[in-house]
Assembly symmetry: C2
C-alpha cells in the first residue's frame, strides 16, 4: 500500500479525477462527497481533496454546505434553461466573431465537421453525433478568440452537460439539431457575422424548447 501522494501535484490529480467523475456521471447528482473517502480512493491527502472540492464549488459543479460537506450539484430544469439562455447570447457573440476571424483552413475544418455530423445522423449514431456536436461548439469558441466568453461558456457547459447528454439521445432530436448546426457553419463560411449570430441563437433557442419538452415527457 503506497502512502498517499501529497502536495502540489496531488491536488491537481484529485481535481482532475473529481471533475471527470462528476462530468462523466460516475457520481450521481446529489450524492454526498465525503472527503476522507475520496482521499482514499484517489490516493491523496484529505487536504488535497478539500482544495479540489473548493475549486469545483467555484466552478458550480458541486455544492458545499457548512459543516455538512459537499455534494454533486443538481441543476433543475429551470436552472438549465437559464444557463442555456446565457449560452445563447454568448455563443452568438462567439459565432459572430468567428465569422469575422476564421481562416480558410479553419472554415475547411468546420465544413468537414459538418459533413461528419450529417453522416453520423444518417447512420443513426447519436453518441458519435454528440461528440461532434461538442467539438463544433468548442471549435467555434476557439476560432472566435473570445477568451472571456470561452471561459464563461466552459463553466456553464460543465453544469448542464448531463442535460445535454440526455437530450442527444432523444429520438428525432439530432435530425433537428444537425440542420441548425449546418446553418451556423455556413454563415461562418460566408463570413457573415450577423447571420452566424442569429443561427447560433436560433440553435440554442431550439435547445431550450427541447429541454422543456424533454422535462414534460420524462416527469
Amino acid at each position: 500500500m503506497s502512502a498517499p501522494r501529497a502536495g502540489e501535484a496531488a491536488k491537481q490529480t484529485a481535481l482532475a479525477a473529481l471533475r471527470r467523475a462528476v462530468l462523466i456521471g460516475d457520481m450521481a447528482p446529489g450524492q454526498r462527497l465525503v472527503e476522507a473517502e475520496l482521499a482514499d480512493t484517489f490516493g491523496v491527502t484529505r487536504a488535497s481533496v478539500r482544495a479540489a472540492l473548493i475549486d469545483l464549488t467555484a466552478e458550480g459543479l458541486v455544492e458545499r454546505i457548512h459543516n455538512r460537506g459537499a455534494r454533486v450539484r443538481v441543476v433543475s430544469i429551470d436552472e438549465a434553461v437559464a444557463i442555456t439562455e446565457c449560452r445563447m447570447v454568448l455563443e452568438g457573440l462567439c459565432a459572430a466573431k468567428a465569422a469575422e476571424r476564421a481562416t480558410d483552413a479553419q472554415i475547411d475544418q468546420l465544413t468537414g465537421l459538418g459533413q461528419r455530423m450529417r453522416q453520423a445522423v444518417a447512420d443513426g449514431e447519436p453518441m458519435k453525433y454528440s461528440t461532434f456536436n461538442q467539438e463544433l461548439h468548442r471549435s467555434v469558441r476557439e476560432i472566435s478568440g473570445q477568451f472571456v466568453a470561452t471561459d464563461l461558456l466552459t463553466r456553464l457547459n460543465g453544469q448542464i452537460v448531463r442535460h445535454q447528454f440526455r437530450l442527444a439521445l432523444r429520438s428525432g432530436r439530432p435530425q433537428v439539431s444537425v440542420v441548425e448546426h449546418v446553418a451556423i457553419i455556413e454563415a461562418i463560411a460566408r463570413r457573415d457575422p450577423a447571420a452566424a449570430e442569429l443561427a447560433a441563437r436560433a440553435h440554442l433557442h431550439s435547445v431550450i424548447a427541447a429541454l422543456r419538452a424533454a422535462d414534460e415527457d420524462e416527469s
Copy 2:
C-alpha cells in the same frame, strides 16, 4: 490587543474587507497581498485570509501564483474590452427579459432613475451620475429575473470597475451615455424586448469605443 477572530465569520469578514479594498482601489493593481500582513490588518487568522484570497481568485479579482503569493489582478485594455463584449450580450439578454417582466411600479422606478440621471448630468456631477449608472444596471438585472446572467455580470463587473470609474470622469462621456441609458429605460417602459436588447447592446458598444479611446488618450 484582541486576539484574532477565527472561523467561519472571520473568513466572511476578511472576504468582505478584501473585496471592498480591491474594488475601491485601496490596493493598487499589481500590489502584493501578503497573507500574514492582511491577517494582522483585519484581525483574523492567516487561514481566513487564505480562504478569502482563494475565493477572490475564483472571482477574478486576484491572481495567485504558486509559492509566490497573491496580487491584485491587473486587467489590460484588451481584456476589459473582451469583458465588456460579454457584458454587452448578457445585459442585452437581461434588458429583453426585463422588458417582458417589468411591473408598472418597476417601470416607474426606472423612469424616476432616468430623471435623476439627467439631472445629475445637467448639474455636472459625474460622481452622482456614476452611482445612478450602476444602480440602473443593477435594477435592470434584478427585474429580468435572470439569476445566472446576473451572477456572471456581477463577476465581470468587479473585474473592470476601475476602468468604468475612470470612464465616468472623462469630460463629455456622461452626456453621451445618458442618452443611451434613457433609450434602454424607454424601451423597457414600452415593454419592447427587441428594442431593449438593441438599446443595451448599443450602449455597451459605445462603452467599448470609449474604453479604447480613453486608452489612446492616456497612454
